[in-house]
């Protein structure tokens, strides 16, 4: 009898520990979506093997779409998590910054002519230039936030407004088109490999950030600054510089995402490219269970959160929801999430839970 009791409490303890783990939130959301799709239409999970128009072997299906188009979001979520942790605010200019870095890549590749026959510069050079430019814009945000002490969301509002105009200005408001097929590899398929390249790029970014977090103090420092800025300064950290650094890292993530975005279409549309992606990136961080007011973070949960968002988007598209109407549904998800994660609501819920199950509670105490 007694052994059963302890066994039971062990099981419930395991579950409560699992629920308390941060990564539980995105996993639960993912399972919910997965089951929903399984019930409504099992063909959602079908993956077919075929050949695309260029004769390359490709895997296609909704799951591949999620892995493919969720890559940019996952990459952005990495930087956004760091910014959120250190500053307690979010960068809302990432979409505009992607437009800028994409525009820079096309500008370098095309040179002066907007429809070149051959590339005017190696792709790697264009990418590096875009990295530098995106990091400079990240640094601009970082300076405003860290040194001028402007709220992150308002400071990044500047680039949010000016970003797309700047992107258009870089290319003289022309729409360059690149005919070189090798440029399309980054957003499409490398011949012979049936898995979309963006997925590999995202995985590479994840490995890099995992190594950085493992072997440097970046994670510790950003969390320290986010939890208590003045005490981290008393412990010998430079909070302003760390905040600045997180924005520069986000700039780097933006450049990678920008490369994938422009490579997908080999051209750019300044007002549409990466539209509303800032909302998704913030949502990914929130869905990962990270406090949007800064402090502790869980990178894996954020990245998983990004894929959950893409899962949600793909599911909504499958139900023929117009792309313009998509934000309304996502907004409801955001509100439900933030309401459930609000400390006041959590306290209230746990109070209600205790009232509902006074028996179970009494046993546990005994």
């Amino acid at each position: 009898m007694k052994s059963i009791e302890t066994n039971k409490s062990n099981v419930s303890g395991f579950f409560s520990r699992l629920v308390r783990r941060q990564i539980f939130i995105p996993i639960a959301a993912l399972l919910l979506l997965a089951v929903f799709n399984l019930v409504t239409d099992p063909s959602f999970y079908k993956i077919t093997f075929g050949y695309n128009s260029a004769g390359n072997p490709v895997l296609s299906g909704y799951l591949m779409t999620i892995l493919d188009s969720g890559s940019e979001l996952a990459i952005l979520a990495i930087g956004m998590t760091l910014v959120t942790a250190a500053t307690g605010g979010q960068d809302i200019s990432v979409g505009a910054a992607i437009a800028i870095s994409g525009s820079v890549i096309l500008r370098v590749l095309c040179g002066t002519n907007s429809r070149p026959e051959t590339l005017q510069a190696p792709i790697i050079v264009a990418f590096l230039v875009a990295c530098i430019v995106a990091m400079l814009f990240g640094a601009f945000n970082g300076v405003l936030v860290a040194y001028f002490r402007i709220q992150p969301m308002v400071a990044t509002l500047i680039l949010f407004t000016a970003g797309r105009p700047i992107a258009a200005w870089i290319n003289n408001n022309e729409l360059p088109i690149i005919n070189e097929p090798s440029f399309g590899y980054f957003g499409g398929f490398i011949p012979g490999i049936p898995v979309p390249t963006p997925f590999f790029i995202a995985v590479a970014c994840m490995i890099i950030i995992a190594l950085v977090l493992r072997f440097t103090n970046l994670g510790l420092y950003t969390q320290a600054v986010g939890i208590n800025e003045s005490s981290s300064r008393l412990n010998g950290l430079n909070p302003a510089f760390i905040k600045f650094l997180t924005f520069v890292i986000l700039g780097l993530c933006v450049a990678v995402a920008g490369l994938i975005k422009v490579s997908r279409f080999s051209t750019i549309n300044y007002s549409v490219i990466a539209k509303d992606i800032e909302m998704d990136a913030i949502l990914a961080v929130a869905l990962g269970g990270n406090a949007l007011s800064g402090g502790k973070f869980n990178m894996a949960a954020s990245i998983l959160g990004a894929y959950v968002i893409q899962f949600l988007t793909t599911t909504l598209y499958k139900f023929n929801v117009q792309s313009d109407a998509l934000p309304a549904y996502k907004a409801i998800v955001v509100i439900v999430l933030v309401v459930l994660s609000a400390p006041i609501v959590r306290e209230w819920l746990s109070g209600v839970w205790k009232k509902i199950r006074p028996e179970g509670h009494g046993k546990e105490v005994a």
Partner: protein, 356 residues
């Protein structure tokens, strides 16, 4: 005439108060001076259009909705919060009114009621989430903005012009401004006019100015934004004050939505895109501090005027690209944000040296 009068007044005030000038007044003075410098500069260097009084009133006509929403925004910002859903609410209101008037043959009074109700609903929900559940206002209103934008598309996808007769008559109503006018090409004297929206906007500005300056609620907004802890100790209901600020902002977004709708006379999902941004920018330019506790409705009014004046200057200078407006607004916002930040830093330093 009027403009020179006002500059001299502020100039006199500046000299007298220079020694113990408050943050609010300093930032307000900067804004008003910048506006008049810009407008007079435009008159001198670009001449022609800017010399006509109607140009000024056209700015008012076009920006009446922005003035109203920016007033609500300032109110929220004074309490240390923010609401970026106003642009979306304006778009939703104009789309709902357009659909109601044209497809359901509604009357104008009900349309006004609809816009007020939509604004109120957004204000109540966001205010509740921000004030009573203590959720970050930016996230709440970001979701609000996306919800409003999405709903606008769900209500109706295609943009269209409203044909409802009663509404068109209201839209075309022009109020003559006595004492202003200009001679047109045919040599006829034409009176300057404003639309009804401008009168509503000016009423809102005056009303809010009085509320903020002389009522208990108005002073409560400043107290909560300045330091919510001390406000709580003074016996102010902080949560209720924050809630009311969001509620009023939502309501004003509804009013602004109808005024916007009266100006453009159509419904479209892309209406008022970036309006939240302009409202925040105008408030900041008008001297409202993002950190809360500092701000002035008159400043916001001049903030809107400065913003649209610079847009007019940019477009009449031949840079008639939609892109340039975005860049100039962002540059101006950046400049004023940095000024605020520097002012705050200096004030902090002055306080700390005084304490020593």
């Amino acid at each position: 005439m009027a403009s020179s009068n006002k500059t001299s007044k502020t100039g006199g005030g500046l000299g007298g108060k220079m020694k113990n000038i408050t943050d609010t007044n300093l930032l307000l003075t900067i804004t008003i001076v910048v506006f008049f410098a810009m407008y007079i500069g435009a008159m001198v260097f670009q001449g022609k259009g800017f010399l006509k009084p109607q140009t000024f009133f056209n700015i008012l006509n076009a920006q009446a909705a922005l003035i109203i929403t920016a007033c609500g925004m300032s109110l929220v910002m004074i309490t240390g919060s923010i609401d970026i859903s106003v642009g979306g609410v304006v778009a939703l209101v104009s789309m709902c009114c357009a659909v109601y008037l044209d497809f359901h043959n509604g009357n104008v009074f009900m349309a006004v009621l609809i816009s007020l109700l939509i604004g109120l609903a957004f204000g109540v929900v966001q205010g509740f989430l921000v004030a009573y559940l203590d959720i970050q206002p930016f996230i709440v209103s970001l979701a609000g903005m996306f919800f409003a934008r999405g709903m606008t598309t769900i209500v109706n996808t295609n943009p269209f012009n409203v044909q409802n007769e009663a509404f068109v008559a209201l839209k075309e109503t022009r109020v003559i401004v006595p004492g202003f006018g200009s001679v047109n090409k045919l040599g006829k004297y034409v009176n300057a006019y404003v639309e009804i929206g401008v009168i509503i906007a000016i009423l809102v500005v005056i009303l809010l100015f009085f509320v903020l300056r002389w009522t208990k609620l108005g002073r409560g907004f400043y107290a909560v934004g300045g330091n919510s802890q001390s406000a709580l100790m003074l016996g102010i209901n902080v949560k209720k004050t924050k809630f009311l600020a969001h509620l009023i902002c939502g309501l004003l977004a509804g009013v602004g939505g109808f005024v916007y709708f009266m100006h453009v006379g159509s419904g479209s999902a892309s209406h008022a895109s970036g309006m939240e941004m302009n409202a925040i920018a105008s408030s900041i330019i008008g001297g409202t501090m993002l950190t809360g506790g500092v701000g002035n409705i008159i400043g916001t009014f001049f903030g809107v005027l400065s913003l649209s004046t610079i847009q007019n200057i940019v477009s009449s200078a031949g840079l008639d690209d939609a892109w340039w407006t975005g860049i100039t607004i962002a540059a101006m916002l950046c400049l004023f944000l940095v000024i605020q930040s520097v002012v705050m830093a200096r004030k902090k330093r002055a306080l700390s040296t005084k304490a020593e």
